[in-house]
Amino acid sequence: MDAIADPNFKHQGNKLNAVEESPSLLTVVIDITPQLWTEFDGKKGKKGNILDVLKALIVFLNAHLAFNISNQVAVIAAHSQGIKYLYPKSGSNSNASELDDDHNDHYETNTDKFIISKNMYRRFRNVDETLVEELYTLFKEEKKNVGKLTQKSTLAGGMSAALAYTDRVTREMETMSLKSRIMVITCGSEKNNREEIFQYIPIMNCIFSATKIKCPIDVVKVGGSKESTFLQQTTDATNGIYLHVTSTNGLLQYFSIAMFIDPSLRQIIVKPNKGSVDFRTSCYVTGRVVAVGYICSVCLCVLSIIPPGNKCPACDSEFDERVIAKLKKKPVVPRLAKKKSSGHISK
């Protein structure tokens, strides 16, 4: 619980023994819901912001791979209809995705692969090609999904999968003391707030499991409002970095400055997210922000008022009347005279 309670006010022991050589796994969860990005494009008056992000991401992934020969990456896309692994490719093994040149011949016509040069370092190319390829198919699928119903963001699902993947790789590479972290890239939207409500519990669960497996979650939010309550709480609790960027210009620099800070150095370096985090909750009944509230001891829902009928509005359990009566009681102000006399005695 310590880590969740508050990572900022405690001396976190000497975790500096993590040697530079230990390999690390970077799992990126990127929200590519077209609606969000189109909205963002519209606001910026510039098309294709997502491509800028993806370009920066690919370079970032390559940089991560370049740091250490055993470093690994994984990319999960949260799209409008679900989640999809972009790398490692579904159906292939993470370590053995050796792509032959001729194997990819029919993709050569694909104009989206302009980033990839044939002479590129093998490990980079494996990742880049798979990523671009999978993205291409994903975007084609997304075209068909335009009219389909989307009620909530699939980001929580992507984060859950990322944690499961991290757990798997950590287990497989137990002997190598693998470090891991998760990076979430999302696009801000004005409408987002509504969606966040449905994601509260799943994201909270992700936070707890991330702290448990000691995997920081970094968040990059592109555009939209500066705050993102749950994602900020995520980075705060997991010792991650929250970064809000207003445009996609120079994103790569942001990535390489803010996101490459080694977890063992994070206590020393001033992180971009140092600031206040909104921890308040809202009342179940009135929706107001609660500072001092009541909690149902059965379902733990937060109420700002004593509910009518002495019944929990969320779980219907009836409350003990005596306790309610006690809570309703107004504070008794002791008479002034009495106070004076007691003061005399103490003197």
């Binding site: 619980m1 310590d2 969740i4 309670a5 508050d6 900022n8 006010f9 405690k10 679900g82 989640i83 579904s90 119903l149 989307t150 009620q151 699939t154 929580a156 699902g157 992507g158 859950s160 999968a161 944690l163 499961a164 993947y165 757990d167 798997r168 287990r171 519990i201 799943p202 909270m204 669960n205 992700c206 936070i207 707890f208 499991s209 448990k212 709480q233 140092k274 206040s276 921890f279 609660v290 500072a291 001092v292 509230g293 009541y294 909690i295 149902c296 001891s297 059965v298 379902c299 733990l300 937060v302 109420l303 004593i306 779980c315 009836e318 409350f319 003990d320 306790v323 309610i324 809570l327």
Partner: protein, 463 residues
Amino acid sequence: MAPKISDSESDADDVIQISNRRQRKQVHFDANSKEPKKDKHVDEKDNHDNKVSKNKKKKKKKPQGNENLQGANGGYAWEDEIKRSWDLVTVDEEADMTSLVASLIDARKKRAAKRNVTPYQRGIIRTLILTLDCSESMTEKDLRPNRHAMMIQYSIDFIHEFFDQNPISQVGIVIMRNGLAQLVSQVSGNPQDHIDVLKKIRKQEPKGNPSLQNALEMARGLLLPIPSHCTREVLIIFGSLSSTDPSDIHQTIASLVDERIRCKVIGLSAQVAICKELCKQTNYGDESFYKILLDETHFKELFDEAVIPLPVNRINKGFTLVKMGFPTRVYEDTPTFCSCHSRLVYGGYFCPNCHNKVCSLPTVCPCCDLMLILSTHLARSYHHLMPLKTFNEVPVENENFPTDNCFSCQKTFPVLKNNKTGKLLTSSRYRCSDCSQDYCIDCDVFIHEILHNCPGCESKPTI
């Protein structure tokens, strides 16, 4: 100078007073015979340290020395054939993998059985008094390095796990030593305090007799002021076979029942009648709260069981509203004193009621007695209230599975075929009934034990 009255009249029929450790081992199995322990061997597989072989050596020696002790038709544990962990994997000619796969499935079933998916109303806000036996019997070396050291180590793990799962709960620690009950750690919600105390106790030599009654009375006293919306629980680790009590322990038990204090006992030796009665009485006739450990792993499991909050009992209703404060965090350029430890710290949390600074949460405001928590602490307990459904194993019949990869970790599902017939032995896929996605066994375990989220369900765009 407490008069040493052992309640022998009540244990006489149940307790077999033996000091011999090996004989006690046999009693263990008898005591737990009701409980099916078939799956136990699966666990022992991981446990194949040299301890097994060591035990074997010892056990072989003993009957040679005193042959007159041997019973005619067995009955002594040391006469049983030793089961080595590696004997369990039998390679038969039919299919070399069959048994291995079977054990895999067993392990899986065992885990599944452990999970409780009924959405109970549970007492989330708990108060638990951890009562540790620090009497002479704890110096026994049947647990490595000895009972005392192992108990303390597991208690530390327990405290970590307990506060991880029950962030808004409180714990106090009492030890039974020299016939006295000693409060070593006050009831509080700060795990670090308890752990520091436990580390100190680790260095203390266990001494004298334990007094169950004294400990229970002390626990009762500690739990009395606890408000009714909290559960009142006592967890006792009991290593001795007798208790040295100043007066009638049955009266104490009766008063515990009145106060709705629920006791759970983990026995390290044989079953003790008074513990059995204590657990039965305080848990509304449910005897499952008294468990005797079989080995180290089982000890750990018993501790883990105590982490999960108890379902709210019909009789033990305590539905209330609890007043709590949600403080905001502040950063300061100059350090100021916190009211909880009087230490200089940069920033902290301000109590919304009295604007007094505390440095860590959850806590009770030292000024106005308001419980201060973060909303995240509440969220930590949600999975107890809304447990995730158990995933079902996909039947093997049709070999056309929709996917070859685990939905959440992309691992390719293993193909375990019978060598001769070529039939699939198991699908190795576990499916969520809501989103019909398939998961590998490792993800299944991870999802149910740590994550508490189904990645498939979370990635559905509709609610």
